[in-house]
């Protein structure tokens, strides 16, 4: 056991492990590409639906049930099923579809809940001021729903990056491949090194999104102004 950390370090600092089509750089690029595409697609599908349902105030049960069902379905099983269909030969497509399916529930539920939890009296006040439905949506509901929406985006992003590693168990690319390749050759240092890279990427994504959340929050300036005021 004592030798493993040193061997892991050796693996990580050996240049040949990073280069080539099965090297760490290529796997990292695959991982980021597949995760990014999946997250964008999931946002494009889930956010308009969730925000619209939240705006008109319908479909709450749907949002909650989709989220619960998402937890019960094993990612590995879904990917495995895709790999036995003609999608197998469609490159990254099986992984992307599976990741989109698993990113939709947190996005949908959080965006919907965020919209619904906006104080109704604030919306009524805005309407009383003569704001149209579109103005209420863009200038009242959306900024107030923003924190929960970002929470959903964060859990979706982390889930996508984490889940993309499982793609390697069915022979697809990404950082997980370093882990599974290490397993097949009984190379524990490589397994641990791959795991560290995958975990590191997931944590990095989480940290970047937390920072982005703080920077771009629409209520940040108001909140800062309020604390600054005597």
């Amino acid at each position: 056991m004592g030798g493993v950390p040193a061997e892991v370090w050796t693996w990580l600092t050996t240049g040949s492990n990073w280069s080539g089509p099965s090297g760490a750089w290529h796997r990292l690029a695959e991982h980021v590409y597949v995760s990014g595409v999946s997250l964008l697609l999931a946002c494009a599908i889930a956010l308009p639906v969730a925000l619209w349902l939240g705006h008109i105030g319908r479909g709450g049960a749907l949002a909650v049930n989709i989220s619960n069902a998402g937890r019960a379905v094993p990612v590995f099983a879904v990917l495995a099923l895709f790999m036995l269909t003609p999608l197998r030969s469609a490159g990254y497509l099986p992984t992307v579809i599976a990741l989109v399916l698993f990113a939709i529930p947190p996005l949908l539920t959080n965006a919907y809940t965020g919209m619904r939890e906006v104080d109704r009296s604030v919306v009524e006040a805005a309407r009383g001021m003569g704001m149209s439905g579109g103005q209420i949506f863009a200038r009242v509901e959306l900024p107030l729903a923003y924190p929960l929406l970002m929470t959903g985006l964060r859990s979706a992003a982390v889930q996508v990056v984490a889940t993309a590693t499982i793609a390697s168990m069915v022979g697809q690319g990404g950082l997980g491949r370093i882990i599974t390749a290490g397993f097949n050759t009984y190379d524990t240092p490589q397994v641990v090194a791959g795991a560290l890279l995958a975990a590191g990427l997931a944590l990095l994504v989480e940290a970047v999104l937390i920072a982005a959340d703080r920077l771009f929050s629409p209520l940040r300036r108001t909140a800062a102004a309020r604390t600054a005021a005597p």
């Binding site: 056991m1 493993v4 619960n68 937890r71 019960a72 379905v73 094993p74 990612v75 590995f76 099983a77 879904v78 495995a80 099923l81 790999m83 036995l84 982390v158 990056v161 984490a162 889940t163 993309a164 590693t165 499982i166 390697s168 168990m169 069915v170 022979g171 997980g176 882990i179 599974t180 290490g182 397993f183 524990t188 397994v191 641990v192 791959g194 795991a195 560290l196 995958a198 975990a199 997931a202 944590l203 989480e206």
Partner: protein, 232 residues
């Protein structure tokens, strides 16, 4: 006779749905399901046993809230494949590895929910119990935990359902219950095996969720009485 030939034909034809598969491999399916269930149950129970003291610690000493909640959330971020791999040098290829990984994942949900449940107990209820001479332990066991039960059970249900799903990834080290069958099925492109094991896995999650819901109703008879009262 002809029916039997047609049935075994579905194994040869590699159909998605195959009754002959269910019949001829029922032993294998049962073994995998049993392994799946015990890995899930052990993980959730150990998770609960770890989460409860952690939640109590955070409540008693709020300055531990940041580190405990932060650390459990951090663990949740680590990909399951990576988590199992990182534990590999410690546990080797064993069920303990899978269970440990799953326990670490369940902590995020359990600690948060138990804490939320305990914090929702009204202060006057606590005061009343103290006034009746309840000590801290009796207060916890007889008043606070029962009142926190709905939140605790909600967390337990989420943790259990996601643990059932995550157990499949244990196939990486050969201890994934139904995940092992899915893994074998992908390697050999055996459609009926992959579909059957996947469906069983989802069913297992649904059954576990319903059982816990039933247990919650049995354990909190007062909430039903209150609901009936509110209705009438």
């Amino acid at each position: 006779m002809t029916g039997e030939r047609a049935a075994s034909g579905c194994l040869v034809a590699n159909d998605w749905i195959c009754g002959e598969y269910l019949r001829s491999r029922s032993g294998e399916l049962t073994d995998a399901t049993v392994q799946h269930v015990w890995i899930t149950v052990a993980s959730v129970l150990i998770g609960l046993a770890v989460a409860l003291p952690l939640a109590l610690l955070v409540r008693a000493r709020p300055r531990f809230a940041g580190p405990v909640l932060g650390l459990t959330t951090l663990l949740y971020t680590i990909p399951s494949l990576a988590m199992f791999s990182l534990l590999l040098p410690v546990f080797g290829l064993s069920a303990a590895l899978v269970v440990t990984g799953l326990v670490l994942y369940s902590l995020t949900i359990l600690v948060r929910n138990i804490l939320a449940g305990l914090q929702a107990v009204p202060e006057e209820v606590r005061e009343a119990a103290r006034g009746m001479g309840y000590g801290p332990f009796r207060l916890l066991v007889e008043v606070e935990l029962p009142l926190a039960l709905p939140a605790l059970m909600a967390g337990l249900r989420i943790a259990t359902v996601s643990t059932v799903a995550l157990t499949t990834v244990g196939a990486l080290v050969g201890k994934g219950g139904l995940g092992n069958l899915i893994d074998d099925g992908v390697q050999t492109t055996f459609k009926a095996q992959v579909l059957t094991a996947s469906v069983l896995c989802v069913l297992l999650a649904a059954v576990a969720d319903l059982l816990l819901l039933g247990a919650q109703r049995l354990l909190t008879p007062w909430s039903r009485a209150r609901a009936a009262e509110a209705k009438s």
